[in-house]
């Protein structure tokens, strides 16, 4: 161990001082050899297919499946030997060959730039074939857009909006607490339950976003019924020089501007200490629909993060801190007092003039949301012998949210939520069994505390939306993977327990009530991929997942102002249990690529909110009563992607997402399920001597959601006070189509400075539309035409 560390230190010194190593070979004993093993310094896994080369002798070999290499028939002498493979930093070593020489190589992952292509070699997280990745290139092309909008590019992923600034991802029709977001290795913990609570994640920091479509509880824990979103910044690698990246965007709609700067480098005084600092901010004002502006729809964001990685021998230590701040204005015309106001708003074809000012403003007035999210991560991993590895990750998160309403008096009244989460994950990668089966054993623990009133165990008010609670979570899991050239299998099991204590004051009482909710459950998963021939791959996943009822589903009791509903929770709800099956087919040839995922997700005891037909009389008038209830649901769907290279550099791709979601007990569709959609991109990459690099024309077609529930979920009330249309206040909006155009050009300036410039027009035809899953469709049309200019500068 020490020796290996010493060698890598030696290599480091060699490289860092840049010793020119021109060595002459002396021809004496010519039966010598060099051998060794090549490994990934990070994971300890063998790296096969690396090119080991002694240039002066014109001798080269590739490392085999076990990472071993051997170069024979060398004469005694001094040589410069190098190891390289795409995705890793090249390593060189000067050796003094005398009969034999053994060189163990630990390669560091790297980013390699091939023209404008960004290739990052990585270990495979899972073979789940529902996994889709968004590269840094695409993230940069979409800079300035919300996190939800960026991942919408994946088929099967849609969004749930509250206006333009609050955007939640939806995977295969499921959202909020049914999908997990893993931000830089830590499960993002905030107030995910609310439809108007978007994930507090800065897309500027993300260099890669991976979406696992489908249940994935085994690796990531309960709640991953719909899928998992992994957000990762770039790896901290050794850099000779400080690398700086500046991203800028300007949008005409809302005159939104944003800037992000990332600097990363290595301290040379302390060996192997790499760091990164990032800040970003954006500011936008009133959004415009094709026909009018919307008063009070601005947004302000300021985020920063600091990261450090220190490698000492086989220990990798990482420290990461990020803070997300945003202030989001809520459209003034969507602030309603009661159902009469809502009905009046729905019946207007255009919001009242006072909510559609002629004058543009950046000012954020009440109502607005003010949010802060802090994340601290400490991670240590130790590479042990025989490919074993132990990783311990500690996370501490604090989420502050205040929803400031327009209320009477000179007081800014607000609902304030504070939630803090501590988590610890330990993962042990065992040594390969029979050299073929790789796997990990993991232990997750976390403690979460939500504070809305008084102290945790001494709440003082009964009028809070979410009561105080504390939950303790424990999970153990095992996943194993077996890989042969044409077949891969992965399977796992997990056991979780969640203990939640809720502290609340009953209406009109002073006594503190404590309710305890304990849930235990086993999850399992199995995936198999078969490579039929080099062009054709087939995969099958089956997984179970579960979600204990969330505190809002258990305890809601009050008017939800955004939705004009009186919502009532049910303390007797039980956990949701899902069984998700999916088949994937992939065909890949030079001319044509095809990807498809067919899925069927059975969710028993699916929790949802449904109208009872009764009204609740309050001092602001009567509200329709909605109760949380459970049913057995089935979500079936198809995600299809086709891509055809028409001629050189001209390609067309289409992504189709179709979903049927039904209540199996009542034989009717579920409510608020995204409509079927199709996305088509025509991309033309131009030759380098033309003033543009790329032209992309995009078309989206979103169908009308015609599958709406007709029957009442609760026992039919005689003479219901409220007549709803398919459980909703307004008809589902009509189908719509949008066209976008994107142009880009990249420049290489002096000193290897790279500049990418992009120009985009969104909603090119300025189409008036409303989306079924935008909660503000009752009040206003969606965004109109938007001209966006972006630059990305790397130096």
């Amino acid at each position: 161990m020490l020796q290996k560390g010493f060698i890598s230190f030696f290599i480091f010194v060699l490289i860092s001082i840049g010793t020119p190593a021109i060595i002459l070979a002396q021809k004496v004993n010519c039966g010598c050899f060099v051998s060794g093993k090549i490994k990934d310094s990070h994971t300890g896994e063998a790296v096969s297919g690396a090119l080991v080369e002694i240039k002066s002798e014109r001798k080269a070999v590739f490392s085999d499946n076990n990472g071993d290499y051997r170069i024979d028939n060398l004469c005694e002498g001094k040589y410069l030997i190098s190891v390289k493979i795409l995705g890793f930093e090249e390593k060189t070593q000067t050796i003094n060959l005398n009969h034999e020489y053994h060189w163990e190589v630990a390669l560091d992952e790297s980013e390699i730039h091939l023209g404008e292509l960004n290739i990052v070699a990585r270990k495979v997280e899972t073979i789940n074939s529902g996994l889709k990745t968004i590269s840094a290139e695409i993230i940069n092309q979409k800079s300035g857009e919300t996190f939800g909008e960026i991942i919408k590019t994946i088929s099967g992923v849609t969004v749930l909006n509250t206006g333009s600034n609050i955007v939640k991802p939806v995977i295969h029709g499921l959202h909020s607490n049914r999908i997990l977001t893993i931000n830089n290795g830590i499960k993002h913990e905030a107030q995910q339950w609310g439809n108007e609570h978007a994930p507090e994640i800065d897309p500027f920091l993300a260099k890669k976003i991976t979406v696992i479509k489908g249940a994935s509880s085994v690796r990531y824990g309960p709640e991953a019924i719909g899928g998992v979103i992994l957000v990762e910044p770039a790896d901290l690698i050794h850099r000779e020089k400080i690398k700086t990246e500046i991203n800028q965007f300007s949008m005409s709609n809302g005159w939104q501007n944003g800037l992000s700067a990332i600097a990363e480098g290595s301290l040379h005084k302390i060996k192997d200490l790499n760091w990164r600092i990032q800040i970003s901010g954006k500011k936008g004002g009133d959004i415009s629909t094709p026909e009018y502006k919307l008063a009070n729809t601005g947004v302000q964001e300021f985020n920063f993060s600091l990261a450090g990685k220190y490698t000492i021998k086989k220990f990798d230590n990482e420290l990461f801190f990020s803070q997300f701040n945003s202030k989001i204005a809520i459209f003034a015309g969507a602030h309603i007092g009661n159902l009469t106001d809502l009905a009046a708003a729905i019946n207007r074809s255009k919001p009242l003039e006072i909510y559609t000012p002629d004058k543009f403003s950046y000012f954020i007035d009440r109502p607005f949301q003010d949010i802060q999210h802090n994340l601290l991560k400490i991670k240590s991993s130790i590479a042990l012998k025989n490919g074993q590895n132990l990783t311990i990750t500690f996370g501490n998160q604090y989420n502050f949210r205040s929803e400031v309403d327009a209320l009477r008096g000179d007081k800014s009244t607000a609902q304030i939520f504070k939630i803090s989460t501590q988590s610890l994950e330990s993962i042990y990668k065992h040594k390969p069994i029979f050299g073929k089966i790789n796997g990990i054993v993991g232990l997750n623990t976390s403690l979460q505390t939500n504070l809305t009133t008084g102290e945790l165990k001494r709440p003082v008010k009964s009028s809070v939306l979410i009561p105080n609670f504390q939950s303790k979570n424990l999970g153990v899991f095992l996943t194993e993977r077996y890989v042969k050239p044409n077949i891969e299998w992965e399977g796992g099991v997990r056991l979780d327990s969640r203990f939640m204590n809720v502290y609340y004051v009953k209406r009109g009482e002073n006594l503190v009530n404590t309710d305890k909710f304990n849930n235990f459950r086993l999850s399992a998963s199995s995936s198999i991929n078969k490579i039929i021939n080099p062009n054709f791959k087939i995969g099958y996943n089956v997984a179970t997942a579960w979600k204990p009822p969330v505190v809002s589903e258990l305890f809601s009791d009050g008017v939800h102002h955004g939705a004009a509903t009186y919502e009532i929770g049910d303390k007797n709800l039980v956990s949701e249990k899902s069984l998700d099956n999916s088949v994937t087919l992939e065909f890949d040839s030079k001319k044509y690529q095809f990807e498809s995922q067919f899925y069927i997700n059975f969710i028993n005891d699916y929790i949802f909110l449904a109208p009872t037909g009764n009204g609740v009389l309050t001092i602001r008038g009567a509200f329709p009563e909605f109760k949380y209830t459970q049913t057995d649901a089935i979500l079936k769907g198809i995600d299809l992607s086709n891509r055809l290279n028409i001629i050189n550099n001209l390609s067309i791709e289409n992504h189709l997402s179709i979903l049927w979601a039904d209540d199996r007990v009542r034989n009717q569709p579920l409510i608020f399920i995204p409509a079927n959609r199709s996305m088509t991109n025509l991309t033309w990459k131009l030759p380098s001597n033309i003033f543009l690099d790329e032209i992309k024309l995009s078309h989206q077609f979103i169908a009308k959601q015609r599958r709406l529930p007709a029957k009442s979920v609760f026992d039919q009330v005689e003479n219901p006070e409220f007549k709803l249309i398919g459980g909703d206040y307004a008809q589902a909006p009509a189908a719509y189509q949008l066209f976008d155009i994107y142009l880009s050009k990249h420049f290489i300036l002096k000193n290897k400075t790279r500049l990418n410039a992009g120009f985009e027009i969104k909603n090119l035809t300025n189409t008036v539309y409303r989306d079924y899953l935008n909660r503000f469709r009752y009040f206003s049309a969606d965004q109109g035409i938007n001209f966006i200019f972006r630059t990305n500068l790397t130096l």
């Binding site: 920063f304 003034a332 007092g337 403003s361 800014s412 009244t413 009028s463 009109g508 009050g558 009389l617």
Partner: protein
């Protein structure tokens, strides 16, 4: 140069990292009670809509309004929060911000009576905390009392004397009998 940029990054991070939540009061102000007072000479009648435990829970208690036919009454309205002890009178807050509030009385059928405002805000628009109610012939129906909250939008006043802007802070239907 690069070092300076770094220092700037770090500093700006620390400056912006303090969360200012002092200005916010986490208090739910609640109207639980609407009190209507009808005065005709020496006769004073008071009717209430009371929901002391707020939304949900116990149903509100609503008095039936009984008035004499073809009679003029001076009407005053007050708003209380009786979930607190002692009860808080929110009428003063409404009158302090009278340029953002409007009380509206609607008789159904309209032949039951006519309401006229007798107070004005700084901009000359009615407020409705004080007014006159002239009853019609005998009959029965409902009297809707609305408190419209019409705060400025993007720093621009929106109250124009009409019902449309803003949202309801209170919206209550009383049963009314005219004898």
């Amino acid at each position: 140069m690069k070092k300076n940029i770094l220092v700037l990054f770090v500093l700006s991070g620390f400056i912006f990292s303090c969360k200012d939540d002092v200005e916010l009061e986490n208090e739910n102000e609640l109207i639980t009670t609407i009190k209507l007072q009808f005065v005709n000479g020496s006769e004073t009648k008071t009717f209430q809509f009371k929901d002391p435990d707020g939304d949900g829970g116990q149903s509100p208690v609503i008095d039936n309004i009984t008035l004499k036919a073809n009679t003029g009454y001076q009407v005053s309205v007050s708003f209380l929060d009786e979930s607190k002890t002692p009860a808080e009178d929110l009428t003063t807050e409404v009158s302090e911000e009278s340029d953002e509030h409007l009380v509206i009385f609607t008789s159904n059928p309209s032949s039951l009576g006519v309401y006229t405002y007798s107070d004005k805000d700084v901009n000359g628009f009615p407020v409705g905390l004080k007014g006159n109610y002239k009853t019609g012939n005998a009959g029965s129906g409902s009297l809707k009392v609305q408190l419209r909250h019409q705060p400025p939008v993007n720093n621009k006043a929106v109250k124009d004397g009409s019902v449309s802007p803003g949202s309801d802070d209170a919206n209550v239907d009383f049963k009314i009998n005219i004898n």
